[in-house]
Symmetry: C2
Subunit: 329 residues, 2 copies
């Protein structure tokens, strides 16, 4: 138990070869005799030898580690995409290091720590870190930013998201149903993602001579959606609430239903954003501005692969959202 790990030099002695040959036995295409390789692999199995990835990384200048900067893993709105990405990375023998930066005062400190590990790629999902910070800290790595606005830069690849058309569809339907008094329930105060999402809906309203009457700020959680909706509905007579994400929308719906006895979509329309699996659960059946998560992660993986092959400079991709129609709007 708990024995020291065997090293390539020791294994070399055991197999009667040099440590270089050990290394070659584990490199798929290198000049080595088949007999030697087989013998070495067999001895290696016997002694439980595996090349030390840390040493290899130091030598290769290539760690096969990927930093994932996210707000939270506990929030279903993010976790689904993260899960997809983690699977895809693992299939490519890349190991994800999760940097969970919400509630954590010194996110920058944390990112600096990760950059110290010579990660090969950085994927920034969080809107809590500015793109400039990411570029500064990972200046050696060319981060892939998942932003919501197309950004031009020679050191960052980005995937931006356009939900304006889908927002317009949603507003059209709600206005068509006779609603006129809209509120926006933001995910967070300072986030540029939130500002952009709000703009999609604000523009769609403006096109019809309307505007948001009220606004509130939460923190992307159910509880904040519930609490802010209660306060919102008490202080103004809105009949439609657009929420920053699906979880908050569920909170807002519960608040409207439980505390004020209002039903969707009759009394009040409620709209989420993200299109997570939970939105489609029978008890929720949320109308939501949704993103194709698989296509989205496909795009991220594609960028990582280009980046890996050093094929070309940074790319900028835009994806459009669609609507999931439920019974809440």
């Amino acid at each position: 138990m708990n024995k020291k790990r065997i090293t390539s030099k020791e294994l070399a002695k055991l197999a009667g070869v040099s440590s270089a040959t050990i290394s070659r036995a584990f490199s798929p295409d290198s000049r080595i005799g088949n007999a030697t390789r087989d013998r070495i692999l067999s001895v290696a199995r016997e002694y439980g030898y595996q090349p030390n990835a840390i040493a290899r990384s130091l030598n290769n200048q290539r760690s096969r580690l990927v930093a994932l900067v996210v707000n939270a893993i506990g929030n279903p709105c993010e976790a689904e995409e993260q899960q997809l990405l983690v699977h895809r990375l693992q299939a490519r023998q890349l190991l994800p290091i999760i940097l969970c930066c919400a509630d954590h005062a010194d996110r920058l400190q944390l990112m600096r720590l990760a950059s110290t590990y010579q990660v090969d790629h950085v994927v920034v999902f969080s809107d809590m870190v500015s793109m400039q910070d990411a570029v500064d800290i990972f200046h050696t790595t060319k981060p892939i930013i998942v932003s919501f606005e197309p950004l031009a830069s020679d050191s960052v690849s980005s995937i931006s998201i356009d939900g304006s058309a889908a927002a317009d569809e949603i507003i059209a339907k709600i206005v068509g149903d006779g609603k006129t008094r809209f509120a926006y329930l933001s995910g967070t105060q300072s986030s540029w993602i939130d500002k952009l999402r709000r703009k999609w809906f604000a523009d769609a309203l403006a096109k019809r001579g309307l505007a948001f009457e009220a606004q509130a700020f939460g923190d992307y959680t159910y509880d904040s959606g519930f609490k802010e909706a209660v306060m919102l509905l008490h202080r103004s007579k809105v009949d439609a609430i657009i929420c920053g994400n699906d979880v908050m929308a569920i909170g807002a719906r519960d608040a409207a239903r439980r505390i004020l006895g209002k039903n969707t979509p009759g009394d009040i329309a409620i709209v989420g954003q993200d299109g997570i699996a939970m939105a489609a659960w029978d008890c929720n059946d949320l109308t939501t501005l949704s993103l194709d998560h698989v296509a989205f992660i496909d795009a991220v993986v594609d960028l990582i692969e280009r980046h890996d092959a050093e094929l070309d400079g940074p790319h900028s991709i835009t994806m459009t959202c669609s609507v999931r129609w439920g019974s809440t709007a």
Copy 2:
């Protein structure tokens, strides 16, 4: 942009000292003059130098990486605990590597890959990997297994969970309400965790001269909870369903309500397990056998710290569950 990272030797030249002194400037307690340290840190900031953690790990035999073996991060039932743990690790300057092993054919391969990175600690949350496999693969690391049965071993620390008392409370209440025909909706076919959880409830039933009339197998997801509950309720006349986790319980409740028009707790009692935040949402208000997640993660962190300090041998901790009473049973 994308400049090469500066090395300690180069910085040494720039600061007019030897590379050893650079290293000392970054080690909190080492013999170095204050003036020298300040000068070095200032020059380091200027050139963006940070010690290479990979090289340091190789030298130290200590990577500060922690492997987290989990089933899924997308499933809220696990994500909450994972999130807590990730925060606690980060606060200790430990970086988590997530190994997501559900849906992934070769989990062992994945674990072997991670072990190659000389992780300092391993936390196994997943019931999909056998403890023996974990010990074999991470024989150099002493994994911390989060099991549900107390296990004796000199190479593994473990935290086990006992929900028998809480299960008894729940069954007492349901039986007291006049229900007699119970079904168990398993999370997964082969999991020993699932078997143990089921046993808690089976024992509580047996004490009252009852037994499970029916059983079904899902995969811990909402959809499987929904589908299996529909089939279960069609083929037998059960009036209480104990589910493998909270998400499945929500699915089962939706199925009962939507497809068969049955309400909880009147027509049918539904019980979850885990006690995730979502169980307390107004729209769910689930009765569930719940674990104190904070205390649980405290225990994990405590084990990691003992393990880090090499204080003593492996430990075995047992935690007891409590009941969250909702309106579904």
